[in-house]
Amino acid sequence: MENSSLNRKFDRILALENAGKLKASSGNRALSKFYNNRLAVFGLIVFSIILLTAVFAPLLTSHDPLKINLRNIAQSPSWEHWFGTDRTGRDVFSRVLYGGRISILVGLGSALMAAVIGVAIGAYTGFKGGWIDVIALRISEIFMSFPQIILVLMLVSIAGQSLFNLIFIFVLTGWGAMYRMTRARMLSLREEEYVQALQSFGLSTATICYKHILPNALGPIMVNITLSTAAFILAEAGLSFLGLGVPLNLPTWGNILNVAQEIRVLQNFWWMWLPVGLVISLFVLSVNFIGDGLRDATDPSQQG
């Protein structure tokens, strides 16, 4: 039965082809595969919307996210204040928009920097092998044997709290995973025949590994960047919620959520924390969908 349905499917495709209606697939195969994944496209749309609202925050709201207005405390949502105001009269909607700028900067920025460092080290040491590989592997093992939040909080307590320190600490704790993944790809790719050919041409190690092998490992690297962006945004929210992330004077998603620690706020002023919680969840969800879509699209074993 399954065969006959498959036959019918192929008959249809054949008919389309004969009628000249089937366009030869143009463009990147991975890209078209990504666009056929509904969840990934949904993720990309939501991601773009939230990113654009954060970037163009000044155009979307006329309220200053930092301006305290004591005559306008804890107002429920209205036409003037879409998400209401917080306990010092600041507009929550504009805080969510401006907070997105810093939260996304922390998440995406840390993930990209961790990727650059991890990939650069992993590609080189993985290709070269020998003692340099062993040393890099041991260092990454040390970093990765700490539970991430413990290591981050420990470093925060040593280095102090600031936006720069937080990004620095995230990069320091996040490069290991990226390094491991790149190294693993490198170990299998360096055995390929084209690499031997390049070596026999006398190309330098750096040229071979960064220019010729690395592009073949790009798929998993991009997947890893999206996934660690999601993880860093969650980590920032968690740390700032605890009051130990980005300093409280800067609006970030985690800092806005911070007020919900008080039972009174949690119960009576839902607009101060619920919308921002939903925005974080949606954003992280969209990033995860994009990551999953990229994984399916770039995985050669699933090429259809």
Binding site: Q148, S157, N288
Partner: protein, 319 residues
């Protein structure tokens, strides 16, 4: 088998030494030393430089860095973890006081996420490609995307504040009479903590089950004419479950990270809660000792998991 275990332990020791060295180094980088923490600033101001120096000498603070590290390490190995700056309580006492609460919460969450995750993952694998499967995939995605603290806050609002079914936080109420009295207290934090892990286990057990079902012994079982449920449960599920149980060890870092935040949301008096207050209060000796302890727990868990895997699967030992 024994040589395998010994070899694994031998790899672990230099690792722990390096990490303890880094932690001690971190401790040295923090402002102040034992003397400046023990004496209040006014008294220190009245003391002469010589007196302060004598005091430092008596605590061994004038020795070289390596020597001090050696002394510290020997103390730690003997169970003398130093003192918390807040009140000068021995850190070992704090551990003994707080650890049971964290272990209790972790075990309940671990148990719940393993059971739920493997059941949902198996269902998902058996109904591959169906609406149930894609629905569960999206739910799993939600599980790893919603910040657990946000999920915790919403759960707290609905079940504790609005409906009043469960207590708002804490572990043991002052009026408790038996151990079971605090079961309502653990329900919310354990459920929220297991949410994220359930999603992970579900994903893993789905692919593990799919893998098991495609093996040849399943075809054999089917050709013997066994009923489908027997094939799935007795042959597929059993094989698929082994890696899922092994995964428990790898979830430990996630679990520790989760308890730090969830204990804060629900005011659960565990190590995570203590860790946050020590970071806030710049109680460096306590911060470092908890960090060291968590690394030790993670490495020990991975050792146990490796040994267990080697016991189950003889191929691991040989490679």
């Amino acid at each position: 088998m024994l040589t395998y275990v010994i070899r694994r332990i031998l790899i672990l020791i230099p690792m722990l030494l390096i990490i303890s060295f880094l932690v001690y180094w971190g401790l040295e980088l923090t402002p102040g030393d034992a003397v400046s923490h023990l004496i209040n600033p006014e008294a220190a101001g009245r003391m002469s430089a010589e007196q302060l120096n004598d005091l430092r000498e008596s605590y061994g603070l004038n020795k070289s860095f390596i020597e001090r590290y050696g002394i510290w390490l020997i103390n730690v190995l003997q169970g003398n973890f130093g003192h918390s700056l807040a009140g000068g309580v021995p850190i070992a006492d704090i551990f003994l006081d707080r650890l049971p609460a964290t272990l209790e919460l972790s075990f309940v969450a671990l148990f719940f996420s393993t059971v739920m995750g493997s059941i949902l993952g198996t269902i998902s694998a058996l109904k591959r490609g169906s609406a149930v499967d894609s629905g569960l995939t999206v739910v799993g995605m939600l599980g790893v995307s919603i910040p657990e603290l946000f999920f915790g806050l919403v759960a707290l609002l609905i079940f504790a504040l609005e409906l009043g079914w469960l207590p708002v936080g804490g572990r043991l109420l002052p009026s408790y009479t038996s151990y079971w009295d605090h079961v309502p207290n653990i329900v919310l934090p354990a459920l929220v903590l297991s949410l994220m892990m359930t999603a992970g286990v579900m994903r893993y057990s789905r692919s593990s089950m799919l893998d098991a079902l495609s093996r040849e012994f399943i075809t054999t079982a089917r050709s013997k004419g066994l009923p489908e449920w027997r094939i799935n449960l007795l042959h597929g599920f059993r094989v698929a479950l082994t890696p899922v149980v092994v995964l428990i060890g790898f979830r430990l870092p996630v679990l520790i990270g989760g308890t730090v935040i969830i204990e804060q949301v629900f005011q659960w008096p565990g190590i995570g809660n203590e860790f946050i207050s020590s970071v806030r209060g710049a109680d460096y000796p306590l911060v470092m000792m908890i960090a060291l302890f968590s690394v030790f727990a993670v490495l020990l868990a991975s050792l146990i998991i490796d040994v267990l895997t080697a016991l189950i699967d003889p191929r691991v030992r040989l490679s």
